[in-house]
Symmetry: C2
Subunit: 403 residues, 2 copies
Amino acid sequence: MSPKFSAALLPKGFQFSATACGLKKSGIDLGLLISEIPASAACVFTTNLVKAAPVLLSQMHLRRTSSGMKAIVVNSGNANCSTGVAGIAAAKRTAVDIAKAIGCREEQALVCSTGVIGVPLPVKRIQDAIPALVRQLDATSDSFKKFTCAIMTTDTFPKWAAANCTIGSKKIRLLGCAKGAGMIHPNMATMLSFIVTDAAVSPVVLRRALRTAVAGTFNAITVDGDTSTNDTLALLANGASGARRIRQGSADYLRFCGALESVCQSLALQIVADGEGANRIVEIEVKGAVSDREADRVARAIGNSPLVKTAIAGGDPNWGRILAAAGRAGAQLDPNLIEIRMCGMLVCRNGCAYPFNERAAHRKLLAKQIPILVDLKLGQGRARIWTCDFTADYVRINASYRS
Amino acid sequence: MSPKFSAALLPKGFQFSATACGLKKSGIDLGLLISEIPASAACVFTTNLVKAAPVLLSQMHLRRTSSGMKAIVVNSGNANCSTGVAGIAAAKRTAVDIAKAIGCREEQALVCSTGVIGVPLPVKRIQDAIPALVRQLDATSDSFKKFTCAIMTTDTFPKWAAANCTIGSKKIRLLGCAKGAGMIHPNMATMLSFIVTDAAVSPVVLRRALRTAVAGTFNAITVDGDTSTNDTLALLANGASGARRIRQGSADYLRFCGALESVCQSLALQIVADGEGANRIVEIEVKGAVSDREADRVARAIGNSPLVKTAIAGGDPNWGRILAAAGRAGAQLDPNLIEIRMCGMLVCRNGCAYPFNERAAHRKLLAKQIPILVDLKLGQGRARIWTCDFTADYVRINASYRS
C-alpha cells in the first residue's frame, strides 16, 4: 500500500477487518467490511454462464433486500465454484453467520470468493473465524490495509484507490480496493473490487453511476481473454457524510460520477499492471473507425493477441503483428490507410513500414507504459483499452497454479 | 522427414527444387514446385483483411488463368506484407521471372511468402536464384524434402503427408507439405500448405473437395488465436496418373475426398504438434450442444484459453478452467449438466468435481496427446478442434522473433 494512505481517506461509517482462517496455505484469507448504517448497494457480476455459488447468492440478496446492505464477506483461496448444492449451502451459511454476528438480516450481506474452482469450500473454517473477525472490526487504515491483503490470490501487491468531492458544503469520500491478476477480461474477470462511499445515493442512481464508470475502466481491461466465474464489483453508499442526497443528472451527480470513475480507473490500471507475469501496461487506442463499436473490436483484437503481447514483452516494435491483429478483428478497415504509432513514434503509415530508428524504438518500448495508437482513417469511431505484456512468467504462474 | 518416405509416394508429373537465396540468415529459403502439364488448382487464402502482396497476386492469378496452373514459388524469411506498391511489384516480378524460366504465362504461377511483416522484399535475391532453382527441378524424394525445408520458419521439423486411392483401375497419389508453427488459427493462419495429386479433377470439383476437407482439419486447429496475413493452401491436380476424370458426387469423388482429407488431417495435426513451444496436442471434443455451431464455439473458447493451455503445459487436471471457458463461450448451456473427461477420466459431473486420483491424472496429462471431452447434455451438436499446450517457450520464441 502506498505510504500516502491515511485515515483521512476513509469514508465515514465503514469498518474493516481480516484474518487467516486456513483456506490459503498461509496468510490472511478472510475479510469483512461493514457499513454501520444500511447502505445503498450496486453490483456488477461476471457474465460467465458458469457462476460461483457466492455470485448466485449475492445476486439473490441484492434483489431481495429493501433495507440496505450491511456487510461484505470475502474469502480467498477457494472460489466455491462448481461445488453444487453444497457450495450454495456454504455461501448461505457464511451469510447467515455474519448476519447473526453483526445483527442484520442474511440478505443484507454479500458473499464473495476467489481461488481454485471445483474444490468444496470448508465453510467450517470460515464459521470458526467469524467471531474474531467481527470483534476486530474498526475504522482504521490498518484494518483496511489488512482487508485489501485478505482478498489477494496471485496479486503481487494490494490495490486501492481513493477520491473525494464536495456535495453541497460537505465532503464525501470514496475508497476502493481490488484483486485481479489472472483471468482478467472485459465484462469483469476474476476480479473482486469493493468501493465504499459516505455519499447519500439511492440504489437506482448508484447502479446507473456504477454502470457508467465501469464501461471505460473495468470493462476496458484485458489480461488473457479469460472471464472468471466469480467476478464481483460491489459499491456501497451509506450517506454517513451527512451530505445531501445525490439526484440523477444533477451537478452533484456528475461530480460523484467523476470521482467514482477515477477510483475505478485507478483500480483497473493497477489490475493490469499486476497482470500475471506482466512487466508493462499497454494502452491501445483506436481511432478513425466507422463506429465506436468497431474501434472497440479492433482494440480488443490487438489487446488479446498473444503475438502482440509477447512482442511487447520483448521490447520489439513489431507493428506488423498489430496490423495483422487489426485485420482479423472483423471490423471494417482499409489496410492501405492504417497508421500506427508506438510510444508516440510513427512506425506504420498507409499500411506500410514508416522508417524509424529501431534502437530508439526498442529503448522506448522498455518503459512501464506503452501507448499504441492505431488510426484507421475511415470515420469518427474511437475506443481505448488497457492490457499488459505477456511474459514467460505468466506461463510459469499458470502452469502450476493448483500445485 | 520420416524415413518411410520414398519416391513411390510422389504423384506423377510434378517436380521440386529449393535453394538458399539469402532471405534467411542461413539455410534454404526459396522453393519451387511445378507441374509438367497445366494443373487444375484450388486454393484457400487467409481471411485477414490485411493480406500480403503474394496472396493478392495469387488470388488474381487464380481468377485469371483458364489454362491451368504450372508453378508455385515460395520464399521464407520475408512475408512481403505491408510493403505497399513495391511489394506487389516484387511478387509480380517473381511470377514473371519464374514463368519466363519454365515457359508459361505469369498467371500460371502462384507466389507465396512467409516471414517477418513490413520489411521490403529484396526481390533481386529471388531473381538471381531462379535460374539455378529451375535447373535443379526434378521428381526425386530429395528435391521434395528440400522443398519442405525451404518453406519453414520457426517450424522445428518439416511436415508432409501422402495418400493414394484407386480411380477406375489406376492408382492416384496425393502428396502434401506444410509449414506452421505460430499464428495458427481457424481460417488458415500463418500456414502455407501445398498438396499435389496426379488425379484428373476439374477446378470446380477440386475446389469443392478442398473446401470439404479443410473444414474439419486445417480450420479446426488453433495455436494462439492469431490469424496471419499470408496463409495459403494450394492444391494442384494434373491428371498425369492417366486415371479417369473424377466427377462430383461419384464414388470416385468420395474416395478422392477421403484421401485428401487424410492428407489435410495429418498436416494439420503436425502443425499443432509443432505449435511454437508446444509439448502436447490437445484434442477438444464438445458434444451435447444445441447445434454443431454452438459446440464449435465452446470448443474454440476452451482451445483458445491461455489458462487451459498453460494448465495442460503443467500437466494440471484443472477442469475448472475448462468449465469457466465453456461458460464464457456465448453458447447455450446449463452449468449443472456439464460433464468433462480428460484423458478418458471423468473429472466433472453435473458441473461439479467428480472424485479422481490427482496423481494418476497428472501422470496421464504428461502424454503427448491430451483428449478433452465436454458433454453439455443439451442436444445433438458436436465439434472437434485441436490445439497445443502453451509453454514458456512460446513466449521466448515470440518475444524475440525479429531480433
